[in-house]
């Protein structure tokens, strides 16, 4: 690391321009050499060169040497996109002792060579223009110091379901005190209503019991049951939260990070498939509750209708869990129906343990599958395939597609087939219809293979409806200033690369409040969110990017418009009655700057002067 180069904003800029060929990606469509030559003619440009790959080691060396040999105090790289490569070149500047805010990027690949591939001359003109804009901006860059913000080493987890408990326990195990806020009177969330869980086929209550007990017992977890978040103020490392419970005094606390795990609800399919119109048309969760309470009616035929209200019918998305749940339930009905009957309970012969079919060895499952592919009913099959009590009860799963993704689920699907569960496909052109024929609940459907309308008398219809966002997610979203997606679920910072972060630092998300997920996924996300939240807490501080608003007190009239428009509450009135920036809370969007009627607010590193200079340079006739 070289010594830090002191750059006074009043010093004359000494700009170095590094124009990249990017192999032939730019060089093949833009005359890079002439562009570099042109750069030399621009004001304050001391040095300009072209590199085959500026991001390769020799390119980076040329930047460092340029800074040293030519005393450069502003660096421009004209190459690809700042979204991927700015950090690399900024780090290079810093390694040569130059403040990283004295670097500027010019994009002549994505925005130029790649989109004007047949217009070399005009593309080259454009590259020259873009560099002229970059130089105009670079001349006005000033070094910035990044502020260090201390982080309170404690957190709050909102939601006491599986995801929330897992996240809270992870943080607690790391030694951080955690507030766990659950609005219901008990922990367990959505899962506590369910009967048994797929893959393990174990009872839901038994599965989450250890988690609940551990959460309750952990010395670092402060439980707030029957409570809700009342307010959140502050920014990463320094959130002032208020937790309120009915009939109790509000609890105030300071936390460093926030994890949102508020879960989801089941869609109530009013108006679909005879729900609420005919008896024994129930949702998946209602069915689970009936099973759990051992209160099923006597039945011979059960229809399960998949995608009820999802995938374009009401909600756009696939709810991801319902296929596996339906398969699990179908097997459960066939195997275990007797134990879930209301009658059994009355007779006092309830078997608590859900009997699971003896596990079939892998190779046999594989063999059966292969054989089924060739020909049905070969000799020997009858011995191996244990017929479920399907003479007694028939289950038909009406589906658009079965999404039994993952390692175990396809085998469970095969198992259901072996147990004579019927899978009948429907298309959106021919939705199944649920109606009463006399006193008989009936499903009418179009058989896609036979191309025939068929009817099926049934005793119960189970509707697999999607998980939907909490109806009051919007309130929390506004309180935390984090976004919701189009379907009302919380929206992560980056769908692929930052799935449990919010774009707002210090706030994280996990579980079904960010979209349908099963328990495995919710636990994975919760563990991820906890470890992400632990990073700033373990480190003890964060470095805030020097990209914030700055108020010129001489121009500010104290009108307060900026305070109204700031989405982060990062502006307040000072004692002088003027606008004041809470630097650690400011995200640097610049909305206040564009709003200020006095022109008193600008942004560090995106100043009005810099942006106007860029615009002016863009419109200037080439010299």
């Amino acid at each position: 690391m070289a010594d830090t180069i002191k750059v006074d904003p009043k010093d004359k800029p000494r700009i170095g321009v590094f124009v990249c060929h990017c192999g032939t990606n730019i060089g093949g469509f833009v005359d890079v050499k002439s562009v570099a030559e042109y750069a030399k003619t621009l004001p304050d440009v001391i040095y300009a060169t072209d590199n085959l790959y500026t991001c390769a080691e020799d390119g980076l060396v040329s930047i460092r040497e340029g800074i040293r040999k030519h005393n450069l105090n502003r660096i421009i790289v004209a190459s690809c996109t700042p979204r991927t490569h700015a950090p690399l070149f900024q780090a290079t500047c810093e390694s040569a002792g130059l403040n990283k805010y004295l670097f500027t990027f010019v994009n002549i690949r994505e925005h130029c060579s790649w989109v004007h591939m047949k217009e070399r001359e005009k593309g080259t003109t454009k590259a020259r223009d873009l560099i002229r804009m970059g130089v105009a901006r670079a001349r006005l860059l000033i070094p910035q110091e990044e502020q260090r913000v201390d982080v309170e080493p404690s957190g709050v987890v909102i939601g006491g379901g599986v995801a929330g408990m897992t996240a809270a326990l992870s943080l607690a195990d790391m030694g951080f005190p955690v507030h766990l806020v659950e609005r219901e009177a008990e922990l367990g969330g959505f899962v506590k209503n369910l009967n048994n869980l797929y893959v393990t086929e174990k009872s839901a209550t038994d599965t989450i019991k250890p988690l609940i007990e551990k959460t309750k017992a952990h010395k670092n977890v402060k439980l707030h049951l029957g409570s809700q978040m009342k307010s959140v103020e502050g920014f990463i490392g320094n959130y002032e939260i208020v937790i309120g419970a009915k009939g109790a005094e509000d609890i105030k606390a300071k936390v460093g990070t926030i994890i949102v795990a508020t879960g989801a609800l089941e869609y109530v399919p009013e108006g679909l498939y005879g729900y609420n119109q005919y008896p024994n048309v129930v949702t998946l969760t209602e069915f689970e509750i009936l099973c759990k309470k051992k209160a099923l009616p006597k039945m011979k035929n059960v229809a399960i209708i998949q995608c009820a209200g999802s995938r374009g019918q009401v909600k756009t998305y696939c709810s991801r869990v319902c296929c596996n749940v339906a398969i699990k339930n179908a097997i459960n009905i066939v195997d275990n129906y007797d134990n879930m009957l209301g009658l059994a309970e009355q007779l006092g012969t309830v078997i608590e343990k859900v009997p699971v079919e003896q596990k079939v060895p892998e190779e046999i499952i594989e063999r059966r599958r292969r054989r089924r592919g060739r020909e049905r009913g070969e000799e020997g099959e009858a011995d191996e395939v244990k017929l479920g009590p399907s003479e007694k009860i028939e289950v038909t799963v009406f589906n658009r597609d079965i999404m039994a993704y993952g390692v175990e689920h396809e085998l469970t699907y095969n198992k259901a087939r072996e147990k004579r569960v019927k899978f009948v496909r429907y298309t959106t052109d021919h939705l199944p219809r649920v109606y009463m024929e006399g006193n008989q609940l009936t499903v009418g459907y179009f058989h896609e293979t036979l191309k025939l309308e068929r009817t099926m008398p049934v005793d119960m219809v189970i509707l697999s409806t999607p998980l939907v966002a909490q109806p009051d997610a919007g309130d929390l979203s506004q309180m935390l200033k984090v976004p919701l997606g189009q379907e009302g679920f919380f929206l992560e910072a980056h769908v692929k690369l930052r799935p449990v972060d919010f774009a707002t630092d210090g706030i994280f998300v996990c579980g079904t409040c960010r979209g349908p997920a099963d328990i495995t996924e919710a636990v994975t996300q919760a563990s991820a969110a906890a470890s992400r939240a632990a990073i700033p807490m373990a480190k003890g501080y964060v470095q805030a990017e020097a990209l914030t608003s700055v108020v010129d007190e001489n121009k500010c009239s104290g009108c307060g418009t900026c305070i109204q428009v700031c989405p982060y509450g990062a502006l307040r009135k000072s004692e002088k009655g003027l606008a004041e920036v809470i630097v650690a809370a400011c995200k640097g969007c610049g909305c206040c700057g564009a709003t200020c009627p006095e022109g008193a607010i600008t942004m560090t590193n995106y100043t009005d002067a810099q942006l106007l200079a860029e615009a002016k340079a863009a419109l200037q006739e080439e010299v």
């Binding site: 994505e110 873009l130 919701l484 610049g590 700057g593 564009a594 995106y606 942006l611």
Partner: protein, 154 residues
């Protein structure tokens, strides 16, 4: 699909009689539209070479003054591109932008500009094709309108 269909196949662009090289300034928000423009590049979607992108963190950073100054300096068109409603990286900056642009469109008419010279479009990080389409259409619109009455400055 040909990456050039939308650009070269356009009848308006090939009419020719109003051909001039328009100067188009495009403000792109860092999080959605700039990324959308990047994606258009990565996808090699060809576009007329007259637009120049200025990166801002949020479309709400675009001070109305920036737009007016651009027209004053001879811009033939100004495009502001931001995240879709409800998708703003800064929660709701794009809603402010939407209102400002609506007002600015009224304002620039007072200066003798066709309001079509100012355009607001939502382009997400995944909408490379929409970025291309927006640029192609906007270029054609401005070409139709001809050079800015303020061309060369005032």
């Amino acid at each position: 699909m040909s990456t050039e269909a939308a650009h070269h196949g356009s009848p308006t662009a090939s009419e020719g009689e109003k051909a001039f090289d328009p100067k188009l300034l495009v403000f792109c928000c860092n999080w959605c539209s700039y990324a959308g423009a990047d994606l258009a590049g990565v996808s090699r979607l060809q576009m007329p070479p007259y637009f120049r992108v200025i990166r801002v963190m949020c479309s709400a950073r675009v001070d109305p003054e920036f737009v007016l100054r651009a027209f004053e300096r001879g811009a033939d068109g100004v495009l502001v591109a931001g995240c879709h409603p409800a998708d703003c990286h800064y929660i709701g900056g794009n809603y402010r932008t939407r209102r400002r642009i609506a007002l600015l469109k009224m304002l620039i008419q007072q200066f003798g500009f066709d309001p079509e010279r100012l355009k607001l479009e939502w382009v997400s990080a995944g909408e490379g094709e929409k970025f291309q389409k927006t640029i192609v259409e906007f270029t054609n619109t401005v070409k139709e309108l001809g050079p800015s009455p303020y061309r060369g400055g005032v």
